[in-house]
C-alpha cells in the first residue's frame, strides 16, 4: 500500500513501479478525501492531469484504465486518524493482505504550522506503525530525510540514534517531546481564545486603515476570527521553529521527521521496518521521463533567484550540496521494498550523493548560473543580454550582509527616510524593498543547506542491495548515483526542468497547456458516460 501518492516522490514511484513491474499483484493507494472530492476522484484527476502518467498513457493508451483497475485500488483514509481512517472491513482486509506499506506522505514545508507538521509527519507515522503491528505480515518503508542529522558537520552514517538531538541535549526523550509539543499546541489554542488575545485582535482589526470606518458587529467579529486564525498559525509556526533551533535542527520539518524516526524505532520494535532518508530530491533523469520536477519546496526558489540579477549567495564553497534525482530515489525505494518483503532490510537507508558523487556548493552555484546563461543566450533582448552577464558567486555571510540584499535594503530604507517628508502618494522603491525582504527570508531559510553544516551522507546500504541484483535486472532496478554527470544534469536537465515545471508557479504564470484526457478508474456505466475533467495546465499541481 502506498501512502502519499499525490506527492512528488509517491507519484513517480507508483508510475515507475507500474512501468518496470507491470506484473505486480496489487497496489493499494491510501488517499485522503478532500472536502467533497473523494479519494477516487482525486486519483482520477491525478492520472488525467499529471504529466507523470504520460509514459503509462503512451504504453497502454485506451487500455490504461483497465490496466490500472487490475493493478491499483484506491482506498479512502486518513493517516492521522486511528486505524488510518479506513472503513472497518477495508482495514481488516488490508491487514490480512498487505505485504508492505510505503509511507511517502509528509509535509515538506520547512517551517509549517506546528499542528500540521505534527499531524502529518509524526502522528501519521505512529498510526502507521500501529497499523503495521496489527497486520499479519506487512512491513513498512517510511520516508524520512537525510537532514534529520541537523546542525552538525561531517560524515553521517546510516545508523539510527533513538532520541537523537543534534544539539546533544541530555536525557532527551522523543516521546516526551512529542507529547510536550502537542500540549503546547493545546495550550496556545486555548490562549488564542482568551480574552486578552481577543482584545488584542479586536484592536488590530480596528486599527486597520481600510476597515476601521465600517467594522462593527458581525463584520468585526469575522475579522477578529480571521486574525485569530492567523495569530495562532504564526505563533505555532514560530514556536515550532524556535523549538527546532533549540534542539539543533534548522527547521520544524527536520525536527518532526527526526521525532518520527525515534518514535517509529520505539513503537515499531521487532517489526520489519526500514527508514529511507533521501537528500534533496530533484529532477528525474530517466523515469518517468527525462526532466520531470514538481513543486517549489526544494531548491527551485533558490535556483530561480540565481537566474535573476541576484549575484552574491552566502554559501560555504566546500559544502556539498546533496541533490539526488527523483528516479534514483525511486529505484532505491523499490530495492529497499524488496528487501523488506524478504526480511533482509537494514534499519536505515540514505539515498544521497554527497559521498558517492559529490558536487560542492561552488560548483552547484556555477552550474546553476551557467544553465541560466545558456537559456538567456538563446533569447533576444537587452534583458537577456544583461542577465547572462550576472553570474552568481559564492560569498561569505559577512560579504553578503555588507554588499547584497541586506545592504541594498538598508540603502532603500535610507532613501525612503529622506523622502518621507515629501508629499508622495507611494513610498519610492517600495516594491524593490519587498523583493529584497523576500530574498532575505529565502536565504535565511536555505542557510542550513547552503552555508552551514558540512554533511556527507553515506549511502552504502542501498548500494549493497544494488550490487546484489542479478545482472538482467540491473537496467530496470539498479541504483547508481556515481555515474551522474553533474554538468549535464544541471545545465541540460535540472534547470530546464525547473524552468518548465516550477518557475511558472513562482512567477504566477500558468504552466504549459497540455491536451486534456479523460480517465475513470471504475468500470464505466452501461450508458458509457465517463467523467471528463478539463485541464487548464496548472490545477494538477495542487492535487
Amino acid at each position: 500500500m502506498l501512502i502519499g501518492v499525490t506527492g512528488f516522490i509517491g507519484k513517480v514511484w507508483l508510475v515507475n513501479l507500474l512501468m518496470d513491474l507491470p506484473e505486480i499483484g496489487r497496489i493499494y493507494l491510501l488517499i485522503r478525501r478532500q472536502k467533497s472530492n473523494p479519494a477516487d476522484g482525486r486519483f482520477e484527476k491525478l492520472v488525467e492531469e499529471s504529466p507523470v502518467f504520460d509514459p503509462l498513457y503512451k504504453r497502454y493508451g485506451a487500455g490504461l484504465a483497465r490496466f490500472l483497475r487490475e493493478r491499483v485500488e484506491v482506498v479512502e483514509g486518513d493517516v492521522s486518524q486511528p486505524d488510518l481512517g479506513l472503513a472497518p472491513d477495508v482495514s481488516e482486509a488490508l491487514r490480512k493482505n498487505l505485504d508492505l506499506i510505503v509511507n511517502s506522505s509528509g509535509l515538506t514545508d520547512f517551517n509549517p504550522d506546528l499542528r500540521d507538521a505534527l499531524l502529518t509527519n509524526v502522528d501519521a507515522a505512529v498510526s502507521i506503525v500501529e497499523f503495521v503491528r496489527r497486520s499479519d505480515h506487512a512491513g513498512l518503508l517510511h520516508l524520512s530525510t537525510c537532514y534529520v542529522a541537523g546542525a552538525r558537520d561531517g560524515r553521517v552514517g546510516e545508523t539510527l540514534r533513538p532520541n537523537y538531538t543534534p544539539a546533544g541535549v541530555a536525557n532527551f526523550d522523543a516521546d516526551a517531546e512529542w507529547r510536550s509539543l502537542h500540549e503546547l499546541v493545546t495550550r496556545v489554542t486555548e490562549q488564542a481564545e482568551s480574552s486578552e488575545v481577543t482584545a488584542e485582535l479586536r484592536q488590530q482589526a480596528l486599527q486597520k486603515e481600510h476597515a476601521s470606518k465600517d467594522l462593527k458587529g458581525a463584520a468585526l467579529e469575522n475579522q477578529v476570527r480571521k486574525n485569530r486564525v492567523r495569530w495562532l498559525r504564526n505563533y505555532l509556526t514560530e514556536a515550532g521553529k524556535k523549538r527546532a533551533n533549540e534542539l539543533g535542527w534548522p527547521n520544524t520539518y527536520t525536527l518532526t521527521k527526526s521525532l518520527a524516526e525515534s518514535l517509529i524505532h520505539k513503537y515499531g520494535a521487532g517489526l520489519p521496518i526500514a527508514m529511507v532518508r533521501p537528500s534533496i530530491v530533484e529532477t528525474s533523469v530517466e523515469k518517468p521521463f527525462l526532466g520531470w520536477n514538481e513543486g517549489i519546496n526544494t531548491s527551485a526558489a533558490l535556483s530561480y533567484l540565481l537566474g535573476t540579477y541576484f549575484r552574491q549567495l552566502p554559501s560555504n564553497e566546500r559544502k556539498r550540496l546533496d541533490v539526488i534525482p527523483v528516479d534514483a530515489v525511486c529505484r532505491g525505494m523499490t530495492l529497499i521494498a524488496a528487501a523488506i518483503i524478504e526480511r533482509r532490510n537494514a534499519q536505515i537507508y540514505q539515498l544521497a550523493t554527497s559521498v558517492s558523487n559529490p558536487c560542492d556548493m561552488r560548483r552547484s552555484i556555477e552550474l546553476t548560473s551557467l544553465a541560466h546563461r545558456k537559456h538567456y543566450r538563446a533569447l533576444e533582448g537587452l534583458e537577456s543580454w544583461l542577465r547572462l552577464r550576472f553570474d552568481a558567486i559564492p560569498v561569505s555571510k559577512q560579504r553578503y550582509e555588507r554588499m547584497s540584499a541586506p545592504a541594498q535594503k538598508a540603502i532603500i530604507k535610507s532613501i525612503q527616510r529622506i523622502m518621507s517628508p515629501l508629499p508622495l502618494r507611494k513610498m519610492p522603491l517600495a516594491r524593490a524593498e519587498r523583493s529584497l525582504e523576500k530574498v532575505e527570508k529565502l536565504i535565511e531559510l536555505f542557510e542550513p543547506f547552503i552555508l552551514l553544516n558540512e554533511h556527507d551522507f553515506v549511502a552504502e546500504n542501498v548500494e549493497k542491495l544494488a550490487y546484489a541484483l542479478v545482472p538482467e535486472e540491473r537496467a530496470d532496478f539498479g541504483y547508481d548515483t556515481r555515474g551522474i554527470d553533474w554538468w549535464e544534469y544541471w545545465i541540460n536537465i535540472h534547470i530546464p526542468a525547473l524552468r518548465r515545471w516550477t518557475y511558472p508557479l513562482i512567477e504566477g504564470r500558468p504552466l504549459e497547456a497540455r491536451p486534456s484526457r479523460s480517465f475513470q478508474l471504475a468500470e464505466a456505466e452501461s450508458n458509457g458516460d465517463t467523467i471528463k475533467t478539463g485541464t487548464n495546465g496548472a490545477t494538477w499541481r495542487y492535487s
Partner: protein
C-alpha cells in the same frame, strides 16, 4: 542506462580504442583552420576570459589577453608552440564546467555562422563515403567538440587544457597543436589529406606538430619516422537518447606493438 548515468563507463570504453581501431578503415586527418573556419587562437581565449565568473576576473583576464595580443607576434615568430602555450595561460583558474559551456556557446553563436559551406559539404561527403575523418585544430577541445558533433565527425585532435579539481591550470597538455605558419597561403591552399594506412596512427599526430599547416608527408616518410606511441582521440558520437554528450578529449598511451 540512459540519461547522464553510465557515462563514465562509456567514456572509458570509448577512450579505450586499441590496435584494432588503429588498423581500421581509411582515415583522413582534416585541418579545421582554413578549410572549415578561419579560427584564430586568441579570439576564443578572449571570449572565455570575457565571460569569467566575476566582473573583476573578467577585466583582469581581458587585460592579460591584451598583453598577450601585444606579445604574440614576437612569441609567434620565435616558437609557435610556445606562443600557443602562453596565450592559454590566461585561462588559469576558470572551471572546466564554464569552459565546456562557453566552448559550446562560442561554437554555436560565433563559429557556426562562419562555417565555410564548401568545406562542410566536402567533409560531409567524405564522412558519408565511410571514411573516418579526424578533425585537427589548434582550438581547444571545448570548442572543437561541438564542431565535430555538428559535422558528424567522430574524432578530433585538438588542444587540451590541464585541469585540477575541475579548474584549469593554464597549462596545455601535450601534444600542442600549433597554429599554421604565416606563409601557409603561399605554400599551398588548405586541402584535405587522405591517409589510407593507419598502422602508424600515432605518427600522424606527431607529424601535425612538425608541419601543421600542410600535410606534407608521405606514408613512406612516416614509416621511417615510426614512433612507439599512439595518441587516442575521443569519439564525438551522440549518446543514446538523442542528447548530445559532453565532449572530452583523452589521451591514452598504447604499447609499442599495438599500432
Amino acid at each position: 542506462m540512459g540519461g547522464p548515468y553510465g557515462w563514465a563507463k562509456q567514456d572509458l570504453n570509448q577512450s579505450n580504442h586499441n590496435s584494432s581501431d588503429c588498423g581500421a578503415a581509411a582515415r583522413v586527418y582534416w585541418r579545421v583552420e582554413g578549410s572549415l573556419l578561419e579560427l584564430t587562437t586568441v579570439r576564443p581565449i578572449a571570449f572565455f576570459t570575457w565571460n569569467g565568473q566575476t566582473f573583476i576576473e573578467r577585466w583582469m583576464r581581458r587585460g592579460l589577453v591584451l598583453v598577450m595580443a601585444l606579445l604574440r607576434p614576437f612569441l609567434y615568430a620565435t616558437n609557435r608552440v610556445f606562443a600557443t602555450r602562453v596565450v592559454h595561460t590566461v585561462l588559469r583558474g576558470i572551471s572546466r564546467d564554464r569552459l565546456d559551456l562557453l566552448g559550446e556557446e562560442y561554437f554555436q553563436y560565433k563559429l557556426k555562422p562562419q562555417l565555410k559551406a564548401a568545406g562542410v559539404k566536402e567533409l560531409r561527403r567524405l564522412i558519408d563515403s565511410g571514411v573516418e575523418v579526424v578533425l585537427v585544430s589548434q582550438g581547444l577541445d571545448q570548442v572543437m567538440g561541438p564542431l565535430a558533433r555538428h559535422l558528424g565527425a567522430k574524432w578530433v585532435i585538438a588542444n587540451r587544457l590541464e585541469f585540477r579539481d575541475g579548474m584549469a591550470t593554464g597549462r596545455l597538455l601535450d601534444p600542442v597543436i600549433r597554429p599554421r605558419g604565416v606563409l601557409r597561403g603561399s605554400l599551398a591552399r588548405v586541402r584535405m589529406e587522405r591517409v589510407l594506412q593507419n598502422n602508424w596512427f600515432g605518427t600522424w599526430v606527431w607529424m601535425f606538430r612538425a608541419c601543421p599547416g600542410r600535410m606534407r608527408w608521405s606514408p613512406r616518410s612516416l614509416l621511417r619516422r615510426g614512433t612507439s606511441r599512439c595518441w587516442s582521440v575521443r569519439s564525438c558520437t551522440s549518446m543514446a537518447g538523442q542528447r548530445q554528450r559532453r565532449f572530452r578529449f583523452a589521451r591514452r598511451w598504447q604499447g609499442s606493438g599495438s599500432c
